[in-house]
Amino acid sequence: MTDAKTTPRQQRTTRRLGSFDRGEVLAALLFLGPALAALVMFRIVPAVSALVTSFKSSVVLVGVSSSFAGLDNYKTLLTSPEFWGSVKTTLLFVGIVVPVQTAAALALAVLLTQKIPLARVWRLFLFLPFSVPLGISPLIWGAALRPDGIVNAVLGAVGIGAQPFLTSPTQALPSIMLVVSWIGVGYWMVFLIAGLQDIPNTYLEAAAIDGANWWRRFFHVVLPLMRRPLAFVLVANTVANFILFAPVQALTGGGPRQSTNLIMFDTYQNAFIVGDRAAASAQVVILLIIMLSVVVLQFRLLSTEESG
């Protein structure tokens, strides 16, 4: 990075570290230091600790100390029908919720950035669900989805029969998806709105002048420029839903008939209720592997689109 005009100051700072500028590397260290320290101390180290725990034996009784158990916990998990069930359920859940939520968030973001009266109020209403404490939202929805609850009352009024919702093995997971989407759509919408408002009006005006109608403007101008925010929302949304469990804990306890038994929920049960930290740690490791694979896949797909 040699510059034709080098001032005495610059000459001082062109000491090299390999092909890197030493001053720059030092600056990077200082800038990154606190964050790296935080990430290492508060995420990586405990994660390694959890990994180590996953290789220990499950039970610690008085007189029976925790011993090295190798891959036992993993073996138990991978041969457990309940675990595989939870893997399937989680993949199904994430596979539906993420695209649906992202699409809805995008649609709403576009809708609410139009020049319509009270847009700010509508945006606020959409964001409100996320500001309700996470322990309370399930209570509200639990009451609404009760067999004798408000939603069924409305359905009854329009002629559709009462639905079992959370008490049905086929409707329980979609009900959880509904609750989660109610909470999350407004949150992701906010990020997408920021992305939309980044798009310079001039681009759209130019396209309009060229005769493109609304639909084509959306697909050929807006969407390509939204790639980054959308990618961000997709990945973050995927991660968030992979590690979701609170509504399940509050509303269905993993049932009916294991239909809502998400991996993280089962992990939470193991870690906190049964107290089997080793098994829980093994579950988390497996969950992480699955999640990482999905996210890497997403990155691959998104970047090939970019070049295409």
Binding site: L61, G63, P164, R257, I273
Partner: protein, 431 residues
């Protein structure tokens, strides 16, 4: 320069933050106590204790029941010393004791057996040692809505344990009441919870669900279990009981006058209120049993134990002894909570008070006395109780939503067997 100053202010902030804050250390004359009751409910007993023990203070923190066990579990496993004593759900005493979460109180509290109810003493012990002091006990009775029964022309059940109804009789009476206009026929307060449903298979001789020398072998697929839960399943499939309502919201149903029969704790404050307000008139009958079987009722409640990782346990011990072993403390502890004190004399007084209460029908006190002595069963004293309860509650949920009983119990049995396996082998290691 700039960066350095910035770094300095960061570390200053850090130091400030680290110093700031509450901070509680267990031990000494300060007692830190954790349980599931709202703080207001313990104010009388805490005041009473502090008055009787100058210099000692009780700092109380509460968590909702589900969270309480998780929090305790997690903290004790980490050998946390920020609390000195806590309330332990009696069926969990074996599990906690075996994991070293409870201090052995055997020779430190004098004669407990003579002062508390027999069932409560049993429930606070494990492996021959006393690991906690019993505070409360519980029972269940059959409530009925007077008006709904009258409308259907049903003769109400009585509090005489000799003439208690069978579950089959209750079922048909419930159906009749619904025929005459009751919205729901029969509701269990703790729907789909093992505590509430244990009496069903036990009444038919099916056992508690665990067997073997250490109660670590599942036994939930025998005929009695299947039969009992086929009956239970019918209460939902035939519309006697609503599906999908969480236990906490069930009392409201009965108080609103929508339910003919309700199985719940005696002297439920919501119902007392509702009766006094004229909202509903109700009576009480003895807990039913299965035709040809035994009369069985659920029991057990809370004991209080000491965190073994705390060095100085004397103050905590004094607190426990005050509430468990003095009549005054026991009565104060049960004053604002709808439970029955485990202290024998306090229990007597509780029963006497119950007799005189206008809202309670005659004979309730005698009934409770009888049940505790004769029909109450503990939940299995197994170190695998937590897993057991979790898996069973899920199975009950499924049965209530219509799943096939035998299949559900089979699956649960398999899962339970797998989950209890590590405990079985650990016990073998322990020798």
């Amino acid at each position: 320069m700039r960066a350095a100053g910035f770094g300095l202010s960061l570390s200053a902030a850090g130091a400030f933050l680290a110093g700031c804050g509450g901070g509680q250390e267990g031990g000494g004359d300060g007692i830190t106590f954790i349980a599931a009751e709202e703080p207001a409910n313990f104010r009388p007993v805490i005041r009473g204790f502090e008055a009787a023990n100058r210099g000692m203070t009780v700092s109380y923190n509460n968590y909702p029941f589900d969270q309480l066990n998780s929090v305790l579990q997690s903290r004790l496993q980490s050998e946390d010393t920020s609390f000195t004593c806590y309330a332990v759900d009696q069926p969990r005493v074996p599990a906690f004791a075996a994991r070293g979460y409870l201090a052995d109180l055997s020779d430190r509290v004098g004669d407990v057996e003579g002062q508390v109810l027999r069932t409560s003493y049993e429930a606070s012990s494990y492996d021959g040692k006393l690991y906690s002091l019993p505070i409360w006990t519980s029972e269940q009775v059959l409530y009925y809505n007077t008006a709904l029964l009258e409308k259907a022309g049903i003769e109400p059940p009585s509090t005489n344990p000799e003439s208690r109804w069978t579950w089959e009789e209750t079922f048909s009476a419930a159906k009749e009441a619904q025929g005459a206009g009751a919205k729901w026929g029969l509701v269990f307060s703790q729907v789909n919870r093992y505590y509430q449903l244990q009496p069903l298979p036990e009444s038919l001789g099916g056992g508690p669900g665990l067997r073997g020398p250490d109660l670590l072998e599942p036994d939930i697929t025998n005929d009695a279990w299947v039969e009992a839960f086929e009956w239970y399943r019918k209460t939902f499939s035939e519309g006697l009981s609503p599906r999908g309502i969480p236990p906490e919201q069930n009392a409201a149903l009965f108080a609103a006058g929508d339910v003919a029969f309700y199985v719940g704790i005696p002297s439920d404050p919501t119902f007392e209120e509702a009766k006094k307000n004229g909202q509903i008139d109700w009576g009480v009958g003895a807990h039913p049993y299965f035709e040809g079987g035994e009369a069985v009722t659920p029991t057990d409640s809370w004991s209080w134990g000491i965190n073994p990782f705390v060095e100085d346990q004397e103050a905590a011990l004094a607190w426990l002894k005050y509430v468990a072993l003095t009549k005054k403390g026991a009565l104060q502890g049960a004053q604002l909570v709808p439970v029955m004190p485990a202290h024998s004399e306090a229990f007597r007084e509780y029963l006497d008070q119950l007799q005189t209460q206008s809202t309670e029908p005659d004979g309730v006190a005698d009934l409770l006395d009888h049940e505790l002595e004769n029909t109450a069963v503990h939940r299995p004293r197994s170190i695998g109780y937590v897993q057991f309860e979790e898996i069973l509650n899920t199975a009950f949920d499924d049965i209530s939503t219509g799943a096939d009983v035998a299949k559900t119990l089979q699956r649960a049995s398999g899962e339970l067997r797998r989950d209890l396996e590590p405990l079985r082998s650990a016990l073998e290691q322990q020798g």
